[in-house]
């Protein structure tokens, strides 16, 4: 289903939960609504479902305004954070509920339930009650129940929040496969950036009720449009005085500008490791942390402290070691603007020093 949202607003009492949110979603895409808790993601999802009224703005499905349609008539499936399974019904009855409501024939219901039980790997559990299932199984029942009436849009509210880390990983890729296979337009809410990056075709970053940025995970990572997005995706350190860093001297042209530097923008090593030594500057290792698959190195450059990763294959650094630091780029921002700045000395092999 093609979805268009224009100037969406929602207030709960005095609290503005959603502010002027507009976006468009192509058919068949899997969209992640990502942002901190209480940022308005769930409110947007619930308005799309018709579970929450819209104060202002339009929601358009397939070119048809659905603001005034009740949830029953929107052709959606909704997976709730706590699954909201019908406690007094078996797995089978939960899945067939939406079909019975829609007055499908007995034979069709039976076939559809069997199909979904198969699809979600719940064979053998048809007669169980929700309290007899594990968290992951309940999640899959909720998913099967939402999919049964063949909705055009699937909405998932924090679908993996209540599941422990290991199974969450499995379920994520399972969900991704499932949605790919069915080709159903889907939107899920999450506050976990890894989850959004791993699963979604496109991410919408929501903060304080506003849509900060929409794009593929790679686009958002590469070109964050606001300091919030830059800080929210990936790891980063904020440097107040960026012009003191080598290669970024001309940042002083914009007074009051700060820089956000990601670990992967920074390289540390001995002088011999760098081809363009002139673009590096000396620093001192403050801490090294073993992170399982790499080192996390904290290094002090002038008055700034930066963080970077270092491969386990390379020579092990120790706190106090003198190293050369190369900063590839920085994400600069001030009150009005934000942009990515490359290390100027890296570009120019013959830098002129004054």
């Amino acid at each position: 289903m093609h979805i268009e949202v224009n100037g969406l607003n929602k207030k709960f009492g005095e609290f503005q939960a959603v502010k002027d949110v507009s976006f468009e979603i192509e058919k068949g895409q899997l969209i992640g609504l990502l942002g901190p808790s209480g940022g308005g993601k769930t409110s947007i999802l619930r308005m799309l479902a018709g579970l929450e009224s819209v104060d202002d703005g339009d929601i358009v499905f397939h070119g048809k305004r659905v603001n005034d349609l009740p949830p029953q008539e929107r052709g959606i499936g909704f997976v709730f954070q706590n699954y909201a399974l019908f406690k007094h019904m078996t797995v089978e009855d939960n899945i067939s509920f939406g079909l019975e409501v829609k007055k499908w024939t007995k034979a069709k219901i039976k076939a559809r339930v069997a199909e979904l039980v198969e699809l979600t790997g719940l064979s053998g559990f048809e007669k169980r009650y929700p309290h007899q299932l594990s968290g992951g199984q309940r999640q899959r029942v909720a998913f099967a129940r939402a999919l049964a009436p063949e909705p055009q849009l699937l909405l998932l509210d924090e679908p993996f929040a209540a599941i422990d880390a290991k199974i969450r990983h499995e379920l994520r890729s399972w969900l991704r496969d499932m949605i790919d296979r069915l080709g159903i337009t889907s939107i899920f809410v999450t506050h976990d950036q890894d989850e959004a990056i791993e699963v979604a075709d496109q991410i919408m970053i929501i903060n304080k009720g506003r849509l900060e940025q929409k794009g593929t995970p790679w686009e958002i990572y590469k070109n964050p449009e606001s300091p919030f997005v830059a800080g929210f995706i990936g790891e980063s350190t904020i440097v107040d005085d960026v012009s003191s860093l080598k290669g970024f001297g001309h940042a002083s042209d914009w007074p009051g500008t700060k820089a956000l530097i990601r670990p992967e923008y920074v390289e540390v090593g001995k002088a011999a490791d760098f081809e363009l030594l002139s673009a590096t500057e000396p620093g001192r290792v403050r801490h090294v942390h073993f992170r399982g698959s790499e080192w996390l190195v904290e290094v002090e450059v002038g008055t700034s402290r930066l963080v970077t990763y270092r491969s386990l294959e390379k020579e092990i650094l120790h706190p106090g070691d003198e190293v050369q630091v190369l900063i590839h780029r920085a994400y600069l921002f001030n009150d009005n603007d934000s942009w990515v700045m490359e290390n100027k000395l890296k570009e120019d092999p013959m830098p002129v020093h004054i």
Binding site: A49, G50, L51, P70, P71, Q72, E73, R74, I76, G77, F78, F80, Q81, N82, A84, L85, F86, K87, H88, F97, G98, V101, K102, Y129, R145, A146, A148, P149
Partner: protein, 271 residues
């Protein structure tokens, strides 16, 4: 070691004390009634039961208690719904008033009904004009029974409704269910264990009510004389076996209900 021994003594002591308490207070008196009712043999027992006035008192009591219970099931479920789902000024006050019938001496309840529905009261006159009398007739007994058993259904349904997640209803809506279907298929099954156990308790309490009913029933044998008042009368006229025979019928009924409630609650707890 010594503390373990001590705690074992404690636990044994506590259990014995509770058992003894139960025996003296509940089990022995009940056995006594069963024993006394049969003390003059089966035939005397049977005679006392099939005695027309006694039998009429028992059936009348059951009939009126059933009516009172049915009314309480509807009004009680509705009240619980309103108290849990709606927010309005005075809700807390209303909620605390629900327990009043438990706290009030039943004789006071009877007196209240007497004054409110008597022939010289507004309601009494109004009913008179419509062609029926409330006081000293069956409606008064039903009203008294409803009053004293009012809290049971409400208090049994309330926690179930509070516990129920509204997202279950929302899930039903998103699956296409109308409000009516959602009520019948999702909300009602969630409330049902509470409604049933509340109704059972209300019924057995209505069956046993004396204080409120005796003041408003008129106690005309065969017409408005209910079982508990009949027992009282038999004791007054020194027919202990007659009193115990009717008591045994009521007691057996109460036991059956109690067991049913337990069964329903057990199933509700598992399901």
């Amino acid at each position: 070691m010594s503390s373990m021994l001590q705690s074992r003594w404690w636990s044994w002591g506590f259990r014995s004390a509770v058992m003894l308490y139960f025996m003296i207070l509940i089990v022995f008196p009940i056995l006594g009634i069963y024993g006394k009712s049969l003390s003059a043999g089966w035939s005397t027992f049977a005679d006392n039961i099939v005695e027309p006035l006694a039998w009429k008192a028992v059936t009348l009591t059951i009939k009126l208690a059933v009516i009172a219970t049915i009314i309480n099931v509807f009004v009680g479920t509705m009240s619980a719904w309103v108290l849990v789902r709606y927010r309005f000024p005075g809700r807390r006050l209303l909620n605390s008033l629900v327990d009043l019938p438990f706290a009030l001496p039943t004789a006071v309840a009877g007196l209240m009904i007497l004054l409110l529905l008597g022939p010289h009261s507004l309601v009494g006159e109004w009913a008179e004009k419509l062609g029926f009398t409330i006081l000293f007739h069956q409606p008064a007994i039903i009203i008294a029974m409803i009053f004293v058993t009012f809290p049971f259904v409400i208090r049994a349904v309330q926690p179930l409704l509070e516990e129920m997640d509204t997202s279950e209803e929302e899930a039903a809506y998103t699956l296409g269910a109308t409000k009516a279907v959602t009520f019948w298929k999702i909300i009602l099954p969630n409330m049902l264990p509470g409604i049933l156990s509340g109704a059972m308790l209300a019924f057995s309490r209505a069956l046993a009510e004396f204080g409120a009913v005796v003041l408003v029933a008129g106690n005309i044998p065969g017409k408005t004389l209910i079982a508990s008042v009949y027992i009282f009368g038999e004791i007054e006229s020194d027919n202990t076996i007659g009193a115990t025979a009717v008591s045994v019928v009521l007691l057996t009924f109460s036991f059956l209900i109690l067991w049913t409630v337990n069964y329903v609650q057990m199933r509700g707890g598992n399901g």
